[in-house]
């Protein structure tokens, strides 16, 4: 099985269309053809089109049943002219050549083919939308979380540990307090809690009494077992991604384990039963959040030995001991993770959007509302801080409900809303819990919670606050943001930008950026990466899991370290390696190097490896199981990096099997396969963008030759303004991409799409151009770009909403 089949590589990234639109507009002055309408060629062109083309391509290039693909693309008039001259009409290209071909090309280009024509025909507007699934999950978690307070956040990692010299957690016998990086211990028959320190006289006396008792018991049993001691670990678990996590406890002793629930352990293994015990538990967690953890361990002399290891299997990874970076010694409040499954959002534009509602979605909303409201009622004493016998219970619960609904709706309630959502739900003589239940349920079903503010009339400061928080967090505003809105402190750019900057330093922004980078790099589609075991022995599940970790460690350091300069993504020549990866990729980690969970950053400069495009995970992802795929690599660079729009292949072609052309290199085979006119129109761009990465094989290892022929890593790219850039090898290409305005604009475009979830051109070309310009001025700082996109879009949307309603 190839890692990625051809069919999946041609999944239409329609987001790229919009990306290209903006980029094309941004560089309009450099476009090789006049975009003025009504130019002479058009009338002739229109006539020719109607006579010779429309029967297949349909009026305005919309397509027909025979040829449904609309005539939309990013070729220049010259390219179109030559294409028509040589190939159109199909089968009779001689019917339309020379000036005729040029005239019809111009007509097509101006009327409907080009991005400019597309924009003219359908000027994008801001979209009215509901919360996406991710936004719903985050909003509900933060809504409940707004009543529980937050945990401590700092750089401390590992778990807080307390060791007791008794099999129960007797505070008087606590001998050690420390931090454990991981929980992975095999004490055999030793007692780690026996520090040999002198206890106080009183303790000594007690200890002697107990020892006597213990000795008596031991005499009775005469068993050479483990020592009696116990440990309690506390802190939080950091979930890097949203998904199902499996936690596995390996022990021969008694354990209890709490995760994101304080009232009941998720594993109760206090009864040890049998040996080599595994306790497994699965739980869905939201990425970028901390979950409270508590682990109690007890070894008794009934046990043979004392040992424990705590492992996990995070999404897309193999099982491993929970690493230090995923643990903190600080408590965090419980997070409500909605269990109701939602149907996935529409991603046909390249990013999730909430612009459609379906019955399945509405059912999920209803179920989730029932789930959450039931949770709130069950947890009411804790969330509302009202005891069941409180004399002012009703008053306090009404206040709780007002706060709940206002937080959910991201704004204060009007009197009318208060009447509907609060007063009407508190019925005379009814159990107060039932009233709260109804109020919470109704608020979660309400369009005021479920729909975003855009297009709901003129935007005020509350709407700006909500725009910001959804852009940066995919969630509701926090207290500070709500207060700023209440005080009218979101009026000007400086005020809004200051909030955005503050909000960058938050786990939710980190989580959102991570998902964005994964989508940008197509990592979210590279599951189940496998290679042929004979060709690439050692490239197993575990190695793939480590590679993914390596990439994520890099992205984390890049985005949140000292220098989030976008160009580094192309130029950095270091890769995080652990021992296993180092061995596979022919590196040595010098002993004593300080490692992070076993990973150190290692230079690959001498290979000419540069940037995240040459990270082995991506190189392996954009490759077949036995051979590389310059096409996959090239398509990725053309679309996601340069923002080019590529159509699906016009004809179905299965890749040529390498063994049929045993003598050919991959490069030669790729050229042979795409040496057809219909292919060349796109592959002339794709192939030469993929070839420079031929220096790396299908598992991302450096190579100098293939089939005993030296690697030819020459490539080129014809920019939108017609200049040809040539590069030899991955590093030269990376240097070109890092400085290319096309790359920068495309990245800004995709940042807008993913974070703001609105068509950027709907906000106006000028404001988008400003963002692109500031990106450069800010040294291509990705963090500043995100804050800028959130701020600029919020202010622009407010402006538009006000003019619209005048």
């Amino acid at each position: 099985m190839p890692a990625i089949r051809h069919s999946s590589a041609i999944v239409r990234l329609r987001g790229a269309l919009l990306a290209t639109l903006a980029v094309a507009l941004a560089s309009a002055s450099l476009a090789p053809s006049s975009i003025a309408r009504g130019d002479k060629g058009s009338s002739t062109g229109a006539l020719i089109y109607a006579n010779k083309c429309a029967s297949c391509h349909g009026a305005n290039g919309a397509g027909t049943d025979d040829y449904p693909d609309p005539l939309i693309g990013d070729k220049s008039v010259l390219e179109l002219t030559s294409l028509i001259d040589q190939t159109m009409p199909e089968g009779e290209p001689e019917q339309c050549v020379g000036p005729d071909a040029e005239a019809v090309a111009k007509y097509i280009y101006d009327e409907f083919y080009s991005e400019f024509a597309q924009v003219r025909r359908a000027p994008p507007e801001l979209e009215f939308s509901r919360l996406t699934v991710r936004q719903y999950e985050q909003s509900v978690a933060d809504l409940v979380g707004s009543f529980t307070g937050g945990g401590k956040r700092d750089a401390d990692r590992g778990l807080a540990a307390e060791y007791f010299n008794s099999k129960r957690h007797d505070r008087r016998k606590r001998t050690i307090e420390r931090r454990d990086a991981t929980v992975d211990f095999d004490w055999q028959k030793a007692n780690p809690a026996d520090t040999g320190e002198e206890p106080s006289d009183e303790e000594k006396k007690k200890a002697e009494e107990e020892k006597k008792k213990d000795d008596d018991e031991k005499k009775k049993k005469k068993k050479d077992g483990a020592k009696e001691f116990s440990v309690v670990w506390t802190g939080s678990l950091l979930a890097p991604e949203t998904g199902d996590y499996e936690i596995v406890l390996y022990t021969d002793n008694a354990v209890k384990f709490w995760l994101n629930e304080s009232d009941k352990p998720v594993v109760d293994g206090w009864v040890r039963s049998g040996k080599d015990i595994q306790h497994r538990v699965s739980m869905r967690l939201l990425g970028g959040r901390s979950y409270p953890v508590r682990l109690e361990f007890s070894s008794s002399d009934d046990d043979d030995i004392a040992k424990i290891r705590v492992a996990w299997k995070p999404p897309h990874h193999v099982e491993e001991t929970i690493p230090e970076r995923a643990l903190t010694p600080h408590w965090s409040p419980e997070v409500l993770v909605v269990a109701t499954p939602f149907p996935p959002d529409d991603r046909s534009s390249g990013y999730e959007k909430g612009t459609a509602v379906t019955k399945e979605w509405e059912d999920a909303v209803a179920f989730a509302a029932m789930e959450v409201s039931r949770y709130v009622v069950d947890e009411l004493p804790r969330l509302a801080n009202v005891k069941s016998d409180d004399g002012e219970r009703e008053k306090k619960l009404r206040e709780f409900c007002v706060r709940w609904v206002e937080t959910a709706f991201r704004r204060p309630l009007t009197d009318e809303e208060k009447h509907l959502y609060i007063e009407r739900q508190f019925k005379e003589g009814e159990n107060l819990d039932a009233s709260v239940h109804r109020c919470v349920l109704l608020s979660l079903l309400s369009p005021r919670f479920l729909y975003r503010e855009a297009k709901q009339g003129p935007m005020d400061d509350y709407a700006v606050a909500s725009w910001l928080s959804y852009a940066l967090w995919d969630s509701i505003p926090d207290r500070q943001l709500r207060e700023a809105a209440a005080k009218g402190q979101l009026q000007n750019r400086d005020q809004v930008y200051a909030q955005a900057e503050r909000m960058l330093d938050d786990e939710r922004t980190r989580a959102k950026l991570r998902v964005f980078l994964h989508q940008w790099l197509n990592v979210d589609r590279m599951h189940d990466l496998k290679k042929d075991g004979e060709v690439y022995p050692g490239f197993d599940e575990r190695l793939v899991s480590d590679l993914r970790t390596s990439l994520d460690l890099y992205l984390e350091e890049f985005a949140w370290g000292d220098a989030p300069d976008f160009r580094r993504l192309f130029l950095d020549d270091e890769v995080y390696l652990n021992e296993r990866l180092a061995e596979f990729y022919g590196k040595t980690i010098s002993p004593g190097t300080s490692a992070r969970d076993g990973f150190v950053s290692v230079s690959f400069e001498e290979e000419g490896r540069a940037g995240v495009l040459a990270h082995p995970f991506l190189l392996a992802g954009f490759a077949y199981d036995k051979a590389t795929s310059p096409i996959h690599r090239g398509v990725f660079i053309a679309r996601n990096v340069l923002g080019r729009r590529l159509k699906p292949p016009p004809i179905a072609v299965s890749p040529l099997a390498p063994d049929l052309h045993a003598e050919l290199t991959t490069r030669e085979r790729t050229i042979l396969q795409t040496d057809i006119a219909a292919c060349k129109t796109c592959h002339a761009m794709i192939n030469p963008l993929g070839f420079p990465l031929e220096q790396f094989d299908a598992v991302g290892r450096f190579r100098k030759e293939e089939k005993s022929k030296p690697i030819d890593a020459e490539g080129l790219y014809v920019t939108r303004d017609g200049e040809t850039a040539k590069f030899d090898g991955a590093k030269a290409m990376a240097e070109f991409l890092a400085q290319s305005p096309e790359t920068h604009e495309s990245f800004v475009e995709q940042t807008y799409q993913y974070f703001v979830k609105q068509p950027p051109l709907a906000l106006g070309k000028e404001s988008f151009d400003e963002s692109v310009r500031r990106f450069g001025e800010n040294g291509y700082n990705v963090r500043k770009l995100i804050a800028d996109a959130a701020t600029t879009s919020a202010l622009r949307a407010r402006e538009l909403s006000q003019t619209e309603n005048k």
Binding site: E261, G274, V357, R438
Partner: protein, 440 residues
């Protein structure tokens, strides 16, 4: 397979109508069992610490002519009762007799070595196999004709809030004890929570439509379409909820629980009654064909002040047979347990079988049992097995006396009664001659 921690697991299903399916398919008119014969149910009721032999066992084998004091509450149902004397729990290995008594009672298999130290013997962990109630649940759930919403329900009364070998009777597999639900309100939530929540949902839909209309008025004409679609789905939901609630109402009414009964010793009689009532209504709705009722736990120490006994049950059970006072009290205690059984029998007898002839009792076999034969000797011989009801067509109204028969054979017989013809159950060494032949 990892356990999926999800207290909201009933939501793990798509579509309102799908979630309400259990109610609809439990409608008698839609029941599927008519074509496949009558329903068969099993109830296991547990009480702890052994019994007082002389006041329990009928003197003679053969027709049940009279009950001793402890079994006297069953008098109205004497002809529907079968006592089995001489059935012995032969499972040995790790753990003390109380632990093995409850842990091997329904599993018929040894406990794993572990860290739970009892009063004597070696420490032990959990049972190393599935219990018969869960085996039968799996058997019935595997067949669409006998599949029910829950398959089995594990009721408890005053079970201590700790998971150890003494508090668990049912096992879904080796090392997989099942915690009985001893809070009637929690059980109610499990059985009827979604009905209540759906009623609440229905009650807010008018208000929701009102506000949807208001929000619609502020958005543009084209954006209104989205909200109109949304409103359409809300209307559809309202209709689905309406037909589902009506359907459920036809099936049977949701029982009412007396509110605010705390889980404490003196409330045990009330809690037991609530749980029995819930069990009967869950059978009426055909939520499950297998149920257990675990009153306290092995070594349970209920103080039955309501029958005039102030001491804890377990402490009393250690008193020698020569302690007349203790014996009298133990008879009172065990008679009270039997009264609970009799109440369950009465409720099942009074309740007609939905859609079929006869009563629920006609199609239910109740097995009342205990972890010990006798409290002071801690014997695992002569485990008290009292069977009531017509579920498996046993010939009732008899006292059977066996000579030292391993209880695995009784477990096997029950499985065969359900048509689940296993060769062995639990430790095969004790299944020698197969099911007991003289029950039918």
């Amino acid at each position: 397979m990892p356990a999926y921690v999800d207290r909201r697991s009933f939501l793990k299903t798509l579509g309102l109508s799908a979630a309400m399916y259990p109610f609809l398919c439990n409608l008698p008119s839609l029941g599927m069992e008519s074509s496949t014969g009558r329903k068969k149910r099993l109830v296991v009721m547990f009480s702890p610490n052994g019994i007082v032999k002389k006041n329990f066992w009928p003197d003679e084998a053969g027709e049940l002519k009279a009950f001793k004091e402890i079994l006297s509450p069953l008098e109205p149902y004497r002809d529907r009762t079968l006592t089995l004397h001489g059935v012995c729990d032969k499972i040995r290995g790790d753990g003390d007799n109380h632990m093995r008594g409850i842990g091997c009672l329904l599993t018929g298999v040894e406990l794993y070595p572990g860290n739970i130290q009892g009063g004597s013997h070696t420490p032990a962990g959990w049972a190393s196999g599935i219990s018969i109630d869960q085996e039968l649940k799996n058997f019935l759930q595997a067949n669409p004709a006998t599949k029910t919403r829950f398959g089995s329900l594990e009721f408890g009364v005053s079970v201590p809030d700790r998971a150890d070998t003494w508090t668990r009777m049912s096992y879904s597999g080796a090392n997989k004890p099942i915690a009985p639900i001893d809070d009637p309100y929690q059980m109610f939530q499990k059985l009827y929570g979604n009905v209540k929540d759906q009623a609440t949902l229905r009650s807010v839909l008018d208000d929701l439509q009102e506000d949807l209309a208001k929000v619609k008025s502020v958005v543009s004409t084209e954006d209104r379409r989205l909200l109109e679609e949304h409103a359409g789905f809300v209307r559809a939901m309202e209709q689905e909820l309406q037909s589902a609630t009506e359907g459920a109402a036809v099936a049977h009414a949701t029982p009412e629980l007396e509110p605010g009964i705390r889980e404490e010793n003196d409330n045990i009689p009330k809690l037991a009654k609530m749980q029995i009532d819930l069990m009967v209504s869950s059978f009426q709705a055909d939520f499950a064909r297998v149920a257990s009722l675990q009153i306290t736990n092995s070594v349970g120490g209920a103080r039955m002040t309501w029958v005039g006994v102030d001491e804890g049950h377990h402490a009393l059970s250690h008193e020698p047979n020569s302690n007349e006072d203790a014996q009298k009290k133990l008879v009172k205690i065990n008679k009270w347990y039997c009264e609970q059984l009799a109440y369950l029998v009465k409720r099942l007898d009074e309740t007609p079988e939905p859609g079929g002839p006869g009563s629920l009792l006609d199609n239910t076999l109740i097995v009342w049992t205990n972890e010990l034969g006798e409290g002071n000797s801690h014997t695992l011989d002569d485990i008290p097995f009292v069977l009531v009801g017509g579920g498996l067509d046993y010939k009732m109204g008899r006292a059977l006396k066996y000579k030292d028969v391993p209880h695995n054979r009784l477990l096997l017989s029950i499985a065969h009664g359900f048509g689940h013809e296993m060769k062995t159950f639990g430790n095969p060494d004790y299944c020698g001659d197969g099911p007991l032949s003289d029950l039918v």
